[in-house]
């Protein structure tokens, strides 16, 4: 494309990439290194890189605290249900969008796209009322239900786009053999949509795992708190236990990071679904 590849251009690009990488990577590396230091050393002047007093004690402190482990349990549980429900509901909706023409399709589609532009904070006050009315205040149900509003639009758009790429003949073949529509969906479309499902699932997991505002407002007692709220509580309660806050942050970021590292491609497909391809 640019003719002969010149080595010095290559060098320049590598140097630019390495320098640029400091911007995202340095703060994360600094957090990681500091999570193993004793507290006074975190703000040492001049800073130390790897502490002579290197210790995994901050991590053990988190692992030995049932209260903090509960945050993780809550987050896993809520994220699991949000992912499962999002997948089921979005598969059904995507099937309708991709295989049928029906009155109101256009309006509904516009509505689903527009939800992405509704600020959660504006819905918070009615949600509090809604959750209290449904007797869901301070329960997992409150968070699972409200998270669906923000995970579903993405999931539906992405799954519809995915199903549109699968030929109609696939499900028609099942129906000609006397199978029902649900059979065609379950035995043919769902198995062939696995890559789409994986990326939707991961994106949903990330949204649910990382959500803060609703988790803060719709739960009250510490045993119902999720990891992001738990971390922010540490900030208030043990403002001087920096290494523990950092250790908890590293541990709290782990599930999403691991998923990202292993399934990068799917993740990126999910991230770009909203803005690039529909």
């Amino acid at each position: 494309m640019y003719g002969k590849k010149k080595w010095y251009i290559k060098m320049l690009i590598i140097i630019a990439l390495l320098l640029g990488a400091l911007f995202p990577a340095f703060p994360i590396l600094w957090m990681f290194l500091n999570s193993f230091k004793p507290n006074p050393e975190i703000f040492a002047w001049p800073p130390t890189w790897i502490s002579k007093a290197f210790s995994i004690r901050p991590y053990l402190a988190i692992l030995q605290s049932p209260e903090k482990l509960r945050f993780f349990f809550n987050s896993y549980l809520i994220s699991f249900f949000v992912v499962a429900l999002t997948l089921v509901i979005s598969i059904l909706a995507a099937y309708a969008f991709s295989r049928f023409e029906f009155p109101g399709k256009g309006i509904l589609n516009t509505m689903i796209i527009s939800v992405q532009a509704v600020p959660p904070i504006t819905l918070l006050i009615p949600y509090l009322g809604l959750v209290v009315t449904l007797r869901l205040y301070n329960t997992y149900g409150a968070l699972i239900l409200t998270y669906l509003l923000f995970t579903l639009p993405y999931a539906i758009l992405m799954m519809t786009a995915y199903m549109n790429t699968l030929p109609q003949e696939l499900d028609e073949a099942v129906m000609i053999d006397g199978g029902s529509r649900i059979k065609a969906l379950w035995y043919v479309l769902v198995p062939t949509s696995v890559p789409g499902l994986v990326s939707v699932g991961m994106y949903t997991f990330m949204r649910a795992w990382n959500e803060y505002l609703f988790a803060l407002t719709l739960t009250k007692t510490n045993d119902m708190r999720t990891v992001p709220v738990g971390i922010s509580l540490l900030m208030g309660q043990h403002a001087y236990e920096w290494n523990q806050m950092l250790a908890m942050s590293v541990m709290g970021s782990f599930p999403v990071l691991i998923l990202f590292l292993f399934f990068q491609k799917y993740f990126i497909a999910g991230m770009t679904a909203g803005s690039v391809k529909h």
């Binding site: 494309m1 957090m31 099937y95 009615p126 990071l257 990202f260 991230m271």
Partner: protein, 301 residues
Amino acid sequence: MKKIFNSFNKNGHKIEKTPYLYLSPTLILMAVLLIIPIFMILRYSFFDNVIINKNPVFVGFQNYINVLTDPDFIVAAKNTLFFVSVSVIAHLVIGLFFAMLLNTDYLGEKTKGIFRVIYALPWMFTASVIAILWKMMLNPHGIINYLLQVGNLASTNIAWLSSRSFALMAVTLINIWAGYPFYMISILAGLQGISGDLYEAAAIDGATPVKQFFYITLPQLKPILISLLTLDFVWTIQQFALIWLTTGGGPINATETFSTYIYKQAFSRYQYSQASASAGIVLFICTILAIFYARQQKART
């Protein structure tokens, strides 16, 4: 009802009820989680003392007038404008720059893959982790101050997040860090969709890389960039967690934005009517953007 389901549409296709069955969970959730709450918030915004008082009084636009003449709201509007416009522009510039770097032909796929992961990292972290991370870095005794002094760029320890003159800049920087990867990844996907023929033709015509960027890359990316800018505008207006956890809107009201203002009105002062009216205003701004965004998306499909 039956009549509707058994009728034929203008193309002569039979209208079935099956699609509505498949859509029923979505429709119910949309009604409960979107339509009803939006009506509730609009209703609240026209009444006095909602939620706390059993019999709220209809006050017309009084809550809106109260909000729009509240000096704190005006400050919040100014701060939001700064926060949003600087974040959005910086996201775009940084995202575009990194995406172009990562799209180079001079490096192998593996090397690019590793850099892509590193550059996308900030997107993976939850707001409270980002808040702790930057509170540590921007601490008066933190690494940023150290580096600035070693580099002779500052002579004293600056308390970035608790200084009235620096706090807004600091939270904007944090938001820029947290948000650019979304642009980068989306633009990268867009760049890979641009046909190489265009560049070859331009190269044959003797166009410089700078010219290629302005006459091929940017116009080809335009639809993606417009979508990204609209979405980001909405996301940044509503950014709550990062500001709340780093400065709480302070010091005094130096980093107060729409979202922290609404949250404080509702959950610290229990002024639900005022909070609903300010939420109504933000919703109005976002609705205009949403319509714009939905049109943009539809035009592309």
